[in-house]
Subunit: 369 residues, 2 copies
């Protein structure tokens, strides 16, 4: 039986392996292993790609979010206990960045695209929401006129961990929409490093400078610490890997779009709910809804199709959070928890169009019980 | 004029460059870029070297310390506001790990070896010290009978950022002396990665498990988060670099000892105070005392000898800390501040014995004004 692998990083990186090895050896030979030109060049290339004035390389996507919120606290624009709205359906990193900074989570129920429902956000009047975190979940742009207007009254921190290259209807890229944004270069991402890496993108000079200092022990110059900081630096060797792949990110995203197009036009099964296909998502995940998730995944596995679930348990139901950790919730927990029980991610990372056709046919033969 | 470079990482890593490039390419080819066998093998090799049951690879030395204190809080063995004693003379990371965890710093004045003065520690009765952080500063073991006894009543967290391979009089290695220890593999360290990296060593199974979970989003298994965690993982590519160099750490340390022997036996200048040479330090830095620090450094620079100062400003005088951030202080701030004004680090990282002789002669010709 033919196997449809969900994600094999060797296969995903195969086109770039030789170039990445040469880049790694260049860094090893350079003698510069913290900061320096490799990191600066990547930051400039990333800022140019995203369309922001600044990009600051950091250790990973969670740290990018953590440091953005910390920077707003340092600037006095956020204070301990302030309310931050984020979608109830997201990876736990979104929530950890908020609670690590002593801020309160306001969980907003997702819309039909699994993203933050901005109408519910605007109806949330119980507390004074100081910051909003749209998450470009699964690579889908989370932006609309309500969020654009909200930007005048609240700090908008984009969780762009999964969205690099996704665009708004008027062609702006995720990571340049809010006041500051966090990107993850986790190896499985559309633009993945060969280890942990991340970045902050912003037009705000102060935020960029504070994040950069916080990531380097809070120092503005060597052995001079103006903030109680951390070590959250981007390694030059990872910057070098990312520079190789950043040049190809649009091809990578276009390839994923082509696979999504096959799925969206060929899967026809009344038991399966397809995602909207507006041509602006970068399809970090291709997530479908179904009624009997375990049965559907079992059927696919029996037919050689590996799947994943992103994510099986909503953050507010994780053991690390108690009910009181979510300050105000428009979640109706059952809705998002049921969502999490109904979603399946299909292979897309290195799926060929031929494979996408075959998987679509397998899915079309599925009979929900 | 001959130049005596303080630290050139290319020169320091020269013997290992080919092997490290091969190791980097092996990881790039492997398709495994988070965790996995490369990290596990390094952890096992490191634990065997240090002499602990567990080693957990993490992102850097500061995160190693941060996660140890966080783990003790999770276990209920430390609580918000508890007092932690640490030497007044140390790199700021030691302090940041304490304050980041909402713990209070008790700063203890240094002894004549620039390390924590354990007698002053035992005389500090103003507060209930729950944890003590000996710092093996400059590579010198900070351990004695008082600290050994203290271990029965307080948690001892070693800051072993600079001490890998240093030993006690009875032959035990730093990193295995307290209840848990943090190592840094910052590129300039005796065992340096080619980017940021660190580790926690401990015999405590619970601490090891909690640190490992905290470093991986607080998860005990995929998508199951039992703690509000972080992303503090050791990259496999750095683990691979470290595995190459760990095999040679004893040679590296012996080479530094030989240079220190030359300095200690050949420098004779009544204006210069030499460090004690007990044969058990690993000489991460070779620090001498002097009266007119600026004048001495200028003289050395004029004679081609690059120097550094570790560290020019004590952490409690850094702008990020106010006087009230140091809960209780036996520091007599002036003493440690004056110390920081009187120390100079001589080249040692890749200094040859011939160069050490020449530098000694240059120093012997120095006349303090």
């Amino acid at each position: 039986m033919k196997k449809y692998v969900f994600l094999d990083l060797s296969r995903l990186n195969a086109p770039y392996l030789d170039e990445m090895k040469a880049a790694a050896c260049r860094v090893i030979d350079s003698g510069r292993y913290i900061g320096g030109k490799e990191v600066e060049d990547f930051e400039n290339e990333l800022a140019a790609y995203v369309g922001t004035r600044y990009a600051v390389g950091v250790s990973n996507g969670l740290d990018a979010l953590r440091l953005i919120f910390r920077a707003y606290k340092i600037l006095g624009r956020l204070h301990e206990g302030d309310y931050v709205a984020l979608p109830a359906n997201t990876y736990i990193a979104s929530a950890l960045a908020v609670t690590d900074n002593g801020l309160n989570i306001v969980a907003i129920r997702n819309d039909e695209n699994y993203n933050l429902d901005s109408k519910r956000l605007s109806e949330c009047k119980d507390v004074d929401i100081k910051a909003v975190m749209p998450v470009h979940l699964y690579g889908r742009t989370c932006w609309d006129s309500i969020l654009q207007q909200t930007k005048d009254n609240a700090i908008i921190v984009e969780d762009n961990a999964q969205g690099i290259g996704a665009t708004t209807a008027d062609g702006r890229k995720t990571g340049s929409l809010g006041h500051a944004a966090a990107i993850s270069f986790y190896p499985t991402k559309n633009l993945g490093a060969l280890g942990d890496a991340g970045a902050v993108t912003t037009d705000d000079e102060e935020i960029a400078a504070i994040v950069r200092a916080l990531a380097n022990y809070g120092s503005d110059r060597r052995y001079h610490n103006i903030y109680q900081g951390f070590n959250c630096r981007l390694d030059p060797i990872q910057a070098a890997m990312l520079r190789v792949k950043l040049r190809h990110i649009d091809e990578e995203n276009a390839r994923r779009q082509a696979v999504a197009d096959v799925y969206c036009s060929h899967i026809e099964n009344k038991g399966i709910i397809l995602p909207a296909n507006d041509g602006r998502s970068v399809w970090h995940q291709f997530v479908v809804g179904c009624v009997d998730r375990d049965g559907f995944r079992r059927y696919l596995a029996e037919n050689g199709v590996e799947t994943d679930v992103n994510y099986p348990l909503p953050f507010f139901n994780q053991p690390c959070y108690s009910a009181t950790d979510i300050a105000v919730s428009d979640v109706d927990n059952k809705v998002t928890a049921e969502l999490c029980d109904s979603i399946v991610s299909l292979p897309i990372a290195h799926t060929t169009l031929q494979e996408a056709h075959e998987i679509s046919e397998i899915i079309n033969r599925y009979k929900a019980s």
